[in-house]
Amino acid sequence: MNILIATDGSEYADHALDFMLRFPFPRDSQMTVLTVVDDIPMLPAEMDALDETQSEALEAANKRLRDEAEELVQREGKRLREDGWPGDTMVRTGKPIDQVLRVAEEIDADLIVLGSHGMSRAKRFLLGSVSDRVLQSAPCSVLIVKKKDGEPTPEAIEPGTNAAYRITLAFDISKASHDALELCASFPLEEGSAIDVVNVMPLITAYRQDVRQHIDSIWMQKKVIMQGELNKAVKSLQWATANVKTELREASNVSDEILIAAEEAGSDLIMVGCKDKGPIRRLLVGSITQRMARYAQCTVWAVRKKTAND
């Protein structure tokens, strides 16, 4: 697995690196640490208006930024190497989101890792976030590591070992979901880990059509089929950990219900397949993955399998 870890030196980026050191990634994975320096923004006209002293001061400031960036990636690279992960470090200049996506393409990354601040719903709705935009445009999976305010630092573990994780896997019968299932099944999870495979069947609560859904024969058939698929998923996951259980829920808001399920289970990680839709469909239908990535209190792994053409 080729992993790109984007860092900005914040506590959230540090938390993301802690996650990387504790999670059981395949041991042959390549990790690349990237930070992006956004030069002090000035218009060409403003640059031309500077005198020699001012130009030198600007150049010195930009150099300081690049040196700090280099120090950051070297520090983080060292932490990875101490844990047994070989990998590169990179410093790029430009707009952070553009550079992250560009480097992901260049190194053919399978996963982009970002730290994210757990904002309030209102703030997220109004401001969006870097992780939102990367998730939308990335050519590969995106892991958004969240740190809640006041969350204690996790217990230290031996270098080269991993922690146990409780994972909520959001599952339906789509190809994207099966990709997420396949990935989850490939992790050599530590003893004590657990996986909850959750499916949420959407209810139509407008004019209380949910009551009619419950007495509709096709709805009943779909529930039976879905439970069958969940049972098959359990069989795929049992080599990763013996602690696998399934949950078939019903709710009007699918993404919220999955988040509730994850919170009730005390999950550390939610995994969900990305169903990439065109812009019109996205406008009409929205994206469950994006809503979950935006509002989850815990870390979210949005699985997007690269096709042969990528």
Partner: protein
């Protein structure tokens, strides 16, 4: 001041004069607001009644077969009854027939274009035939009164009460069919009990919802009638197009939600059920409130359009061996609906000149 604001609720003449004073743009806005009130009121009422019914221990099957089915046709029913009561029979009948055409042509057609709608033979071989049969019965009775009547043909009160009687029978049969068609066990139903709204909240939703529906219908009827006059088209044309579309908003919103959530199958039962209720409940209640004169337009236009759409629907059901409605069938239904709407205005605007 308070008296004059509230007095239009009871004083029809005052309401009519208030409406006549408004500009066309304001009237169209008022119509849009009334339609929103009808939709929202119906939603709140159903929500309150469903939770109230669940509190009494009434099984979901009964609630689904009766309350929820009737709930989405409340806007049509209130508008048509109000129109009949206020002496606008064209509006009352046009709304009922136009809603059938909008539900099957526009809403079901659109759903088939957007998603693969399964052919639920259990529903279509039962309620589906009641849908076709009740619409045909309406047309046959209307033709019958045209042939035997010396004066203007009208649906008398006895027809209204006949339809309402058949409605009770239909609701009972819906319950029986729902019981046959579902495999929900009592234990499952218990397990699915979610937190119900408090009694106070239920009653609040029901009362406020009812007020919204009544007020919405009360103001919509004279506004639509005034618009018809200003556009130079008969009331039944406005009723069968603008008003019918507006009162079918609950069915439209439900269909869109069903497509968005990947479960378009619920639309079949909704639309077929709504069509039956538009005849038995909407037109039945309106005719029972006051005899409905049938404008000649219905014999040349509305009834044939309704029968074409329903007949097409039955043909598609028998054709679809693979078990889904095809996209082209959706386009056909939409096409018939759009032709029907456009032609009405084209013909009447021409004849007005």
């Amino acid at each position: 001041m308070n008296n004059s604001i509230l007095s239009w609720i009871g004083d029809e003449a005052l309401l009519q004069s208030l409406v006549a004073e408004q500009s066309t743009l304001v009237l169209l806005l008022v119509i849009a607001v009334c339609i929103a009130m009808l939709s929202m009121g119906a939603d709140w009422m159903i929500d309150g009644v469903v939770d109230l019914a669940e509190r009494t221990g009434l099984p979901k099957i009964v609630i689904g077969a009766t309350v929820v089915s009737l709930g989405t046709t409340l806007p049509e029913a209130f508008v048509s009854v109000m129109a009949a009561y206020m002496g606008n029979p064209g509006l009352a009948l046009g709304n009922g027939v136009g809603s059938i055409i909008a539900d099957t042509g526009l809403i079901f057609g659109l759903t088939c274009v957007l998603a693969a709608v399964p052919v639920n033979r259990f529903i279509l071989n039962r309620t589906g035939w009641v849908q076709f049969g009740s619409a045909t019965m309406l047309v046959l009775i209307s033709i019958g009164v045209l042939l035997i009547s010396d004066s203007e043909p009208q649906l008398d009160r006895w027809v209204g009460f006949l339809f309402l009687g058949l409605l009770v029978l239909y609701l009972y049969m819906t319950y029986v069919w729902a019981k046959q068609g579902t495999v929900m066990l009592p234990e499952e139903e218990e397990a699915e009990q979610k937190e119900l709204k408090s009694l106070g909240t239920c009653w609040f939703l029901i009362i406020v919802g009812l007020l919204l529906v009544i007020m919405g219908a009360r103001v919509l009827v004279p506004s639509a009638s005034e618009i018809a006059m200003r556009f130079g088209v008969p009331e039944d044309v406005i009723a069968a197009t603008m008003v019918a579309f507006g009162t079918s908003l609950p069915e439209l919103m439900t269909a869109i939600a069903a497509v968005r959530k990947g479960h378009p199958e619920i639309t079949v039962g909704n639309i077929v059920g709504a069509d039956v209720l538009n005849v038995l409940f909407v037109i039945g209640a309106a005719a029972a409130a006051a005899p409905l004169v049938i404008p000649m337009n219905f014999y040349y236009f509305h009834f044939p359009a309704m029968l074409i759409i329903l007949f097409s629907f039955r043909v598609f059901i028998s054709m679809n061996k693979e078990g889904v409605f095809y996209r082209w069938q959706g386009f056909w239904l939409l096409g018939v609906y759009l032709t029907y709407v456009i032609m009405q205005y084209a013909l009447h605007i021409e004849s007005a000149h």
